[in-house]
Amino acid sequence: MSASTVEAVAGFDVEKIRADFPILHRQVRGHELVYLDNAATAQKPQAVIDAIVGYYERSNANIHRGVHYLSEKATEDFELTRQALQRFVNAAEAREIIFVRGTTEAINLVAQSYGRAHVGAGDEVLITAMEHHSNIVPWQLLCEEKGAKLRVAPINDRGELIVEEYAKLLTPRTKLAAIAHVSNALGTINPVKRMIAMAHAQGIPVLVDGAQAVPHLTVDVRDLDADFYAFSAHKMYGPTGIGALYGKAALLEAMPPYQGGGDMISSVTFEKTTWNKLPHKFEAGTPDMGGVAGWRAAIEYMNGIGVTKIAAHEHDLLEYATEVVGRLPGVRIIGTAKDKASVLSFVLDDVHPHDIGTILDQQGIAVRTGHHCAQPVMERFHIPATVRASFAMYNTRAEIDALAAGIRRVGEVFA
């Protein structure tokens, strides 16, 4: 066994894990797929695919409605996932988990429900300079509507939040802070626990965008004391189109509904409608029940391996990739924070990331190229785009060697 194939984490069998992911065994453009675009979406293990199929083969019926057997079974299954999520992020109660389409919808829910009720003219919403567009635009829409101001806490040249500047921007005008747990473009892990404590000291609630954190870190919303925590299934090996908003019960209780429809009401007359209790108040309409079934399988899969072990394996991959890619001629790594998770963003001399992406793709290597829905981050580093390799539990050092070889090939084409 060569040094590059030694896996550093004891008891972590990456080949066994790879065997569980059917897509990893397909060929792309005549090469074995090297999938390094996990920050965009992760691949799905067979258990998740089977759970979705199994739901439609055996359990499908609308939830919270029928008195018949299947409806009861579907409702039970649906609520089991909510409980699994409650445990996964350590929420105090299952009703604090609201099913939504994904992180984006979770943030929009808070902006439109909590935000419209609490943010007024002259108020401020605070975000950071490393946010994904989905944690920028909902607040811009809110601020525009209310005559409020969006403030942005800056980052340094390593891509770390400048905590002192963040502190200065927490003022009596600040009605909410919305911050990424892990930056999708840079991989920076923000000190969210400390940032939340600083906001709370001034009575400011905090929403955490956890889309990039849940696949890589153990998340404990009560330890963080997050008021809202938004995340998606598809980045943690679950299906697309389903996500969750965690919110403290007291906050959610006091918030007006986000969307109106079935399931979210307690009674409807043409004169007055009363809202259903949590979590149903925020779950109008028939949800993605197949997706919810698949998500539970993904949580069970991750728990079966252990988030701590996954994190250790990915940390080893990131360190290895930083070393072997970082020493290639012409490579400049963008995002060199001390605390990082699973993202290696880089640029290469004068070669545009889009050209690099095409050349890597010809070798079966999938990376993301572009601004990663974080244009302000690109502006901060004075670059139009980066190449981003992002890692998951099933990636190997051999795949990082393939990436490095692919980058050398770029150098040959552009020599």
Partner: protein
Amino acid sequence: MPELRDLYQEVILEHSKAPRNYKEPAHTNHKAEGYNPLCGDRFTVYLEMDGDVVKDIGFQGAGCAISKASASMMTQSVKGKTKAEAQKIFQRFHDLVTGHGHPSEAELGKLAVFSGVSEFPVRVKCATLAWHTLEAALEGKQENVSTE
């Protein structure tokens, strides 16, 4: 399977490294900006129109090798042409890179090196960004052009 060398032909690489007419002509009287938010490519195309004729043309901006080479070779191919001729060349170029129709090499001249783009559909927008921007500049439109 498409080959990288079909896309990254020597002529294209050479133009991307040393683009021609990379300037703002002194007597510019039309200009437009083009932007592809997908990859961040951004170009400004400048025209000095003498009546209906492209008397001088230049461009500036940043983008991938395909978009930059395309912009560079575009400026060479439309300089001295009438507006209608320039639009005709764009139409043929567009057919070439999207794989629609089969414009002859005689009709396309040097631009034929972009034929490989049709095998890489996600790169069509790179190849046509400067051309869409040229079209806007010819029309005298003020708004920015986007290929998204």
